[in-house]
Symmetry: C2
DNA sequence: CCGCTCGTGTCACTGAGTGTCAAGATGTCA
DNA sequence: TGACATCTTGACACTCAGTGACACGAGCGG
């Protein structure tokens, strides 16, 4: 029950935050405002999120874990480019599924420098995770071999480019097709083993 | 004279900031402290820098312009991988030259989440710059072709990986050799035109 | 000498983020 | 059911980042 309540308040805060931020812009919304809208105090907000940026970025937090899980689930015989494309494809598909909500969040992030910065930092953690998974998968030493980190970086780079185009076209372009085109460019470097 | 004085105060602030931040850690230093050490008021600090992060990141601001300039100066016949490696090599060489100061700054950035986030955001601007230059160089349309953005991203990715290794080894590893190895990995994707 | 501009310091203010404590809700066990 | 322990929350006070307003003094042209 305690956990359920926590989840409930957390959702309430996220909901209020996304609503207000998308409506009025990042800087024009105070944390007091978000907390009051969600029916809690400012102090409680900070018991759930570390900062205003965190509410938004946390909303996408699962993406990293999802990608790593998908990569780990892929057959070891599969070429790295194919496995990585599937891994990156998971969060992209999630976005495409909830295109109404996800598009607004992505546009908010890409348009707000403070959010973009935090988002990139989060991605750096995903990259390290993917690199570790990739190194294990290929039996490489991540401390001496540059390939895992570079490969993971390239995949997330493609991910970023797709998000950027998707957001810039207001969801008009097809994410799946963009992913295909992006990986067609980077695959030659991913599969040279 | 006015510009010289501005530069003088700016240098004083940068000096004081880097000194204090490296010594006590990012969060343990207040802006009041930095300003007082430099002999000015807190208000004046904000007339030179937008935030505490900015003092550090601004210190590396020229890197972006340097890279783009180097890329623009390279012969158009040169393969993209070679041209990009030279472009990225410029700031790396600058780091290696001032290894005492540069190493401390890089380690501070990579170790401090708030700084790392701002640094990545800055890099995103560099990437867009490089992509634009690359698109012009190759006669591609940056709005329809994914290659320029992905190629620039891969190059900066390599740049990042090198900085990470260089910082992690306390400057023991040779940046030039690391760049060579990183570009050996990504070159197959850069040169498939 | 007068007025102009520009850079700076002082002051006051909003908002982010944190520590502390008391009170209430909840969960457990007898 | 009742007593006790735990956890969550709100209220308050505080530090510090960042901004706006204004007044002061230095340098400069008339």
């Amino acid at each position: 029950m305690a956990m359920r309540k926590r989840q409930l308040v957390s959702n309430e805060l996220t909901e209020a935050a996304l609503q207000l931020l998308a409506l009025k812009g990042f800087d024009a919304v105070t944390i007091d405002e978000i907390a009051t809208t969600a029916g809690v105090s400012k102090r409680t907000f900070f018991r759930y999120f570390a900062s205003k940026e965190d509410v938004v970025v946390q909303f996408l937090a699962d993406m990293g874990a999802d990608m790593r899980a998908e990569l780990a689930a892929r057959s070891a015989e599969e070429r790295p480019s194919a496995a990585l494309q599937c891994a990156v494809g998971v969060p992209i598909a999630t976005c495409a599924d909830h295109s109404d909500r996800a598009l607004r969040v992505v546009q908010l992030i890409l348009r707000t420098p403070a959010l973009h910065a935090r988002f990139l930092e989060r991605q750096a953690q995903w990259r390290d995770d993917l690199a570790a998974e990739l190194a294990q998968r290929l039996g490489l030493d991540p401390d001496s071999d540059l390939y895992p980190r570079l490969a993971a970086g390239m995949a997330l780079n493609a991910f970023d480019a797709v998000l950027h185009r998707w957001s810039g076209s207001d969801g008009a372009e097809d994410p799946a097709e963009l992913i295909d085109r992006a990986f067609a460019v980077i695959a030659p470097a991913l599969d040279t083993v």
